[in-house]
Structures are given as C-alpha cells and as structure tokens.
Amino acid sequence: MCGIAGIIYRDGSTHPIGDEMTRMLQSMKHRGPDSTGYALYGAAADGTLVMRYKLADANTPRDFEYEERLRRHRVEVENRLARMGAEIDEVEEETPYAFRVSFRYDGDLKRLADIVEDIPEAEVLSIGRSLEIVKDLGDAETVGGQYGLDSFNGTHAIGHVRMATESEVDIAGAHPYWAYPFSDVAVVHNGQLTNYFGWRRRLERSGHRFMSECDSEIIAVYLAERMSGGDSLEQAMHASLDELDGVFTYIAVTDDALGVAKDELAAKPLVLYESDDLVAIASEEIAIRQLLDREIETYDPYEREVLVWQR
C-alpha cells in the first residue's frame, strides 16, 4: 500500500520540517510499517555539500567482524573523499551504520558517488547542497527519533512509509530515492511500475546505477536522465506519464520545487491542501491534519495531472 507525503513552504521560510514530516508519516503508519524515509531540504551553506551514506543495513547480520568492518569502511570513505579532493568539514555518526558528512567539492559528483559506493556495502543515500535523505526500518517515530529529526529545520520535505510488496525490507528498498547522480533531487512513490525491467536495462546502459530491486527507484533515475537532457522537473514529470507504465502517484522534489504526478487511472490516492504559504500533500488527509489541526479545503488531483510548486 505505502503512504507518501510532502510539504513546501512557498515563501522559502524555514520550519521544523523534520518534526512535521514525522507527525505526518506516523499518522499513516497503517499504510506501511516496514520502513520510513525522509528527504529534507535544509538551509544550504555556501559551497558545502552534504552526503548521507550507509555502510550496512539495520538488519545486516552482526558477525564477529561487523564493528571492525564498519570502522574500516568509514575510514576508507573519508580517505577516498580526501583523495578525490573533497575537503571534509564534519562527519557525524547518526547510527552505527549511517553517516552524515559535510564537505566542499567542485568535481564530478557521479564519480565521487561511484568511488564511495565501490566500498563493499556502502550506499550513498543522497548528495546535495540542501537535500538530506534519511531512511531506515521501522515507523516514523522510531526513525525520526533515531536520527534526531525533530530539530531539522528547512523549507520543504517529502516522506514515505513503506509496506514492502515487491522487494526486500531493507534500507535500499526504502524510499525516498535520490536521483543519482544529480544533487538535491529525490522521489517517493506509491504504486507499481509494470515496465520496470525494460526501463532498468535501458537506464543501466546509459550508465545509471541501481541500488535496489525496487521499481520505485526507476522514477528517480528516469527523472534524472530526462533532466540531464535539459528537461525541467515539470517537463520530465509530464514525459513520465507516457513512458512509465503501471499505477503510480509520486512526489518529486528539487532544491527549490516540489511536484506530484498521477497515472492515467488515478489509481493511487493523493490529497492536496494548498494555501498562499503552504502546500501539503499526502495519501490521506489525516496526515495533513497533523500540520493543520482545523477544518481545511482539500481535494484529489485528477488522472494524468502534474502539479509543481516553487518555494
């Protein structure tokens, strides 16, 4: 089933979006208790990039070498970043296996991500000037608490609660997906794509990498491919309505925009609240009510609708 949510403050002001997204996602726990994920957009610091990466999964078997392997791989990540010419400002250990590193780097992000992911079990969850993707197993209160998201302030965010139906219950299968190798682009999805394997083969031939067996990862990479060819986010999302097959409602987000797209049959739910200051969307209105505890006017976007808001 899965539940998705998004918020964007249209005036660009910062709000406690980590806490807000946790409340929205927790209210939709019944739509997916397996994993929870966030793509949060904080205030960008001049010239600084933030990379979120993991070196193991929450359910990776803990053998005798586990801790030593994590330590060795963490050192290796930092060494490789340094060798690539990145100037590391800070490395934060969010969990024993998930890390946040802020650094300065002017080179090729794809190359940098590839070099990091060449380390066994390493996965880059996101790279961005303002984007930070956090995802892990469990409900929103568990993940939000584990990663200290209550204090995360920013301008916009998307989130996902997952009921795993077609791939593993692990962090790789959790949403959001970063649109590797583009900084600051992420996607959450509710639905099934029926032409997944065809698109995956096509995109792999173009040099894109996939970290999961989850069909939703296709959307992020597909949008990245279109945007690398010069499409805007909105143009790429419109194209996806014809080229991606199946039932889907997805939310895509960049450093300054948030967009939603629904498939031809409008088979997956999405409720939208829009005011001059705020756009809030979710699979269920009860999630939006976590932000606005009063009567509000909401509606369902129609089939083949693409809506994009700028901050």
Binding site: Q26, I286, R289, E297, Y299, Y302
Partner: protein, 262 residues
C-alpha cells in the same frame, strides 16, 4: 503532537482494534438531539458513541464535532436518523448505511458511502475516488468535485456531483443514476451494464459500450425533482449516457425464468 487518537488504540491477537472499547458517553443530550466532540476520540469510540445514541438512547439527531478526517466514521447505521458531521471524514465514511440522513460539512476521502442501501448523504465539499462505490440505493450529493471511478459497480440509487469527476466514472455500473454537473474524465461509463449518467460539462472520452442516450420526459422529471429536493437551482442542459449493450450478451429473462421457457 501525536497522531490523533493513535496512542490509545490497542489490538487483540486477531488484529482487531480496541477489542474492549466502550462508548465514551460524552455526548450532551437535549431532547431527541445530541452533540459530542470527536477530537480526542478514536474511530471506534466515535462509532460506538454514535450507535449508543441512535440505538440505545433512541435519539433522532446527532451532531459530531471535529471528526478530524478520521476513517470509517458513521458506518453501518441501519436506522432512520439525522447525523451531522461538522468537518471532514477520511476513507470509507458512511459506508453500508441504510436509512440515515447525513450531512458532512467538509470533504470525504475515498469510498464514501460504499454499499449505501438507502437514506441521504450530502457532502458540502469534495470527495475522493470511488465515491458511492457499489451504491445500492438512496441519494448521495457531493457539492464539490470528486476523484476517479465514482459509482464503480453502482447497483442503484442516485449520485449527484455538482463539480467535476475523474476517470472511469460509472465503471461497471449496473443500475441507478449519476448526475454530474461539471466535466467528466476519460472512460466515462466504461463497461457499464445499465443505469444512466447525465453530464453537464464536457466528457473527455466515453468508455467501452457507453453511448449517448435518448432524452425522455422521465429524465426531465427526475432531474427537476432532484434539483428541487436538494436546492440546486435551475438544472443546466445535460447530456445523457447509457449502456450500448453490445459488450455483454443480454437476455431479457432471468436464468430461472429461462429454464421455465425452455
């Protein structure tokens, strides 16, 4: 702030929620009418309180304040009474009802009034997809817009939508009427077996076996009567759509009757 009501919900070994919940008895009763605030109540508590007031206390009018877009409210009410929700409902609002007159000040999520058998439901704002799914009788009036597949598998009754509707409206409809005053999305009346759909705005495309129908005096009478009952003003010019009856092999006899003839 925790999700509304969630913290108090417990489940038994079979997965049934709040197995020991009781009606909270929070309503203020005034003669035959009662009002209660649902803000801090769970779905089950709200429904238990509703049922207590209608069935045990025999009240005929209940007002529910702050329903908070919670799911499955007002379901399974099988008696004549008036219920007023002062706010929005979530999914499956007012499903499987038989008799009540319900007013909802806000919006209703997916599958509003699913399997409704009789009564009247008036939604003052919008509704989600699958509105009036498998509706069997009664009138469902939505004053705003609705999502996709309105009246899917509809078996009777009347659905009136003052705004527009999404794709596949009237999909596999078997009986009953839909009056859409706005535009209709693609695939209108797809695979319908019977019934009638009236549309005031544009129709993006007709579904398989849905064809324009011939307007009769009884259509005019029906539309004028419904508009009069619900205070919708002067009816606009409407197009009528029915089943072409080429997709399925229709027979005028029921299977049991057929045996007798043969």
């Amino acid at each position: 702030m925790a999700a509304v009501g969630e913290k108090t919900i417990s489940y038994d070994a079979r997965g049934l929620s709040e197995p020991f919940a009781e009606a909270p008895r929070v309503a203020e009763v005034d003669g035959d009418a009662a009002t209660f605030d649902a803000k801090n109540l769970s779905t089950r508590q709200i429904n238990l309180e509703l049922r207590r007031l209608v069935y045990e206390e025999g009240l005929t009018e209940v007002t529910v304040e702050n329903p908070g877009a919670k799911h499955s409210l007002g379901v399974g009410i099988l008696t004549r009474c008036k219920i007023h929700f002062k706010g929005s409902l979530g999914y499956f609002g007012c499903g499987i009802i038989d008799g009540p007159e319900i007013t909802i000040d806000g919006r209703v999520g997916w599958s509003a009034c699913e399997n409704m058998m009789s009564g009247v439901v008036v939604v003052e704002s919008n509704a989600g997809s699958l509105t009036g799914a498998a509706l069997r009788g009664g009138d469902l009036v939505v004053k705003g817009r609705v999502g996709a597949r309105t009246g899917i598998d509809q078996k009777g009754g009347t659905i009136i939508v003052c705004g527009s509707v999404g794709s596949m409206t009237g999909f596999m409809m078997q009986r009953g009427r839909q009056i859409i005053l706005g535009d209709a999305g693609p695939g209108l009346g797809d695979s319908m077996y019977d019934g009638t759909i009236y549309v005031g705005g544009s129709v993006k495309s007709l579904g398989i076996d849905c064809v324009p129908g011939e307007w009769t005096d009884s259509d005019t009478e029906l539309i004028e009567r419904k508009f009069r009952i619900y205070g919708l003003g002067e009816p606009p010019e409407l197009q009528k759509f029915v089943c072409g009856k080429v997709l399925y092999n229709y027979d005028s006899l029921e299977p049991s009757e057929k045996k007798l003839v043969i």
